[in-house]
């Protein structure tokens, strides 16, 4: 070795010491299993209490009864109304989400990369964001009719703002030092965007995508409640107008199931997006 500075080398620095498989099943999952059991228990107790008190403390017309709701669900399932209407709502949610999220991410990036435009448009975007989206429903009916399109647009608009704002916030958070470092490595502008700005803002983008999921459902259902002839929102309206409380609850149960599935997706995404958090923000 032709080292120009002679030093006694310390023993080489070893690979990390990994202690394999010492984190037991109980340590990792014990708590979450307990929580899950308690959750199921809570649900069962609530349903039983509902069943027992309905008709005694409060009138059936107001709160219906789990058994009645169940019968209604069964009837709808058999007639196919449950599936066809759920499918309509799910379609609105998915299409609306896809359009809103796509536009939000794309415009978020496009605007952030031209800083002047971003600051010019900022107050307008915030103003539009503040409008309750349900207030736009009548306008969308005029533009698109009362079909699927109007619900899709309503869901998309709701999703768009959340994704857009989180995307721009995420891009603002990208550490300038990292951008400088990449520039020093000789990165071109497209490379800077692809290898630094995109991954650096991913935490923000994914947060936006994540929190917007339930809002797609809200947008779609609001659209259905305002004007429709199919979908779960329509089932709610239709049942209510014939004083079929069990029908209202049955449709709500179907919506809750859809929301729960969406939330599960959100949680899984959340765990995944945590990996993108820079240094100290992790967990």
């Amino acid at each position: 070795m032709t080292s120009s500075l002679r030093v006694d080398h310390a023993p080489p620095i070893d690979a990390p010491v990994r202690i394999e498989g010492t984190v037991g099943w109980k340590e990792r999952h014990g708590r979450s299993v307990l929580v899950l059991v308690l959750r199921v228990l809570t649900l069962v107790v609530a349903i039983v209490a509902w069943q027992l008190t309905a008709g005694h403390l409060i009138g059936i017309l107001f709160v219906s009864k789990p058994t009645l709701v169940w019968n209604q669900l069964k009837a709808w399932a058999e007639s196919g109304a449950l599936w066809s209407n759920s499918w309509v709502t799910i379609k609105e949610i998915l299409i609306g989400y896809a359009f809103g999220a796509g536009a939000g991410v794309a415009l978020g990036f496009a605007l952030s990369l031209t800083r002047v435009l971003a600051s010019v448009l900022d107050p307008f975007v915030m103003g539009l964001y503040a409008i309750p989206k349900v207030a736009l429903a009548p306008l969308f009916i005029v533009w698109f009719g009362i079909g699927l399109e109007m619900k899709v647009i309503l869901a998309a608009v709701t999703v768009f703002f959340l994704v857009f704002l989180n995307t721009t916030a995420g891009i603002k958070q990208v550490d300038d030092n990292l951008i400088d470092a990449a520039r020093l490595m000789g990165a071109s502008t497209p490379q800077l965007i692809l290898k630094v700005v995109l991954p650096g803002s991913m935490a923000g983008v994914l947060t936006g995508l994540r929190i917007a999921i339930p809002y797609a459902l809200i947008g779609a259902v609001i659209g259905e409640l305002v004007a429709s002839n199919q979908g779960l929102g329509y089932l709610i309206n239709d049942s209510a107008s014939t004083l079929n409380t069990a029908g209202v609850y049955a449709a709500l149960v179907a919506l809750t199931v859809i929301a729960a599935v969406l939330n599960a997706v959100v949680n899984i995404l959340g765990r995944w997006t945590d990996r993108w958090r820079p240094n100290d923000q992790a967990r």
């Binding site: 032709t2 120009s4 002679r6 990292l178």
Partner: protein
């Protein structure tokens, strides 16, 4: 020897609210090709600001930075800069961080992986390839940054207190590695430190900066190479230089030697 890098009457002001903060005032410094220049200075005297200017990351408020005789207008090719703070990409594992300069140049994956493995080994991080930066200690992140800088094979190295987070043993090892990588390669190095001993052990020339980057002292290090760390400490020339640099750092004047 040709000058690779030169600061000509460089001033740098920062705006802070409605005030301006002076970081550098009329700073002039030359770096000759193939030399190892260490820059000493108290905290806040403008060392990092000067390196940022040399790297082309910021522009001087007045004066000029010249790189190989032409005015610098942005980050130049062939410059490796190890900043004072870590700039590893948090979302990349260690080996992907080290590979990054090659990746940006379009070097193919097999070659990248091979070179990265070599350098990771060199800085003593073998076994940590698939760790994220947050899973490394501060000193390990410094070494990872060093590996990333070296993989680009720069011919000008700018290092801002690269080893101050390392333990004494590791620091001497890294100093030795750095010298080995530098010697005989024709690379030029600007090495910022506030450790007098480090400045003397490494440098061909030590520059002491005073307030606002004023050059207080600019002296060649009259010590032969290779340098043996244990012997060098008791070398009368070393002791004398050490004393002189310490005095200069404290701001005692009467010892100003202008740059040759």
């Amino acid at each position: 020897m040709p000058t690779v890098l030169e600061a000509r009457d460089v001033s740098k002001l920062f705006t802070k609210g409605s005030n301006r903060v002076v970081a550098l005032r009329d700073c002039s410094l030359q770096v000759d090709e193939g030399t190892f220049v260490t820059v000493l200075g108290r905290s806040g005297c403008g060392k990092s600001t000067l390196l940022n200017l040399f790297a082309g990351l910021t522009r001087p408020t007045s004066g000029e930075i010249r790189s190989r005789g032409t005015a610098l207008a942005g980050p130049a090719d062939g410059v490796g800069y190890m900043t004072q703070s870590d700039t590893l990409m948090p979302w990349r594992k260690l080996h992907r961080n080290v590979e990054m300069p090659l990746e940006l140049r379009g070097v193919d994956r097999a070659e990248r992986t091979r070179r990265a493995a070599e350098l990771i080994e060199l800085v003593g991080l073998a076994g940590y390839e698939s760790h994220y930066p947050r899973e490394l200690s501060g000193g390990m992140r410094r070494r990872a940054s060093l590996a990333r800088m070296l993989i680009g094979d720069p011919d000008l190295l700018l290092l801002d207190e690269p080893f101050s987070a390392l333990d004494a043993q590791l620091r001497t090892e890294m100093q030795a590695e750095l010298l080995r990588l530098w010697q005989g390669t024709g690379r030029s190095v600007v090495f910022v430190t506030h450790d007098i001993e480090e400045a003397l052990v490494l440098g061909d020339r030590v520059v002491v900066l005073g307030q606002h980057g004023a050059v207080r002292l600019d002296v060649p290090v009259a010590l032969g190479r290779p340098r043996d760390l244990d012997e060098i400490r008791v070398d009368p020339a070393f002791v004398e230089m050490h004393r002189r640099l310490a005095r200069s750092l404290r701001g005692e004047t009467g010892d100003v030697v202008p740059a040759s």
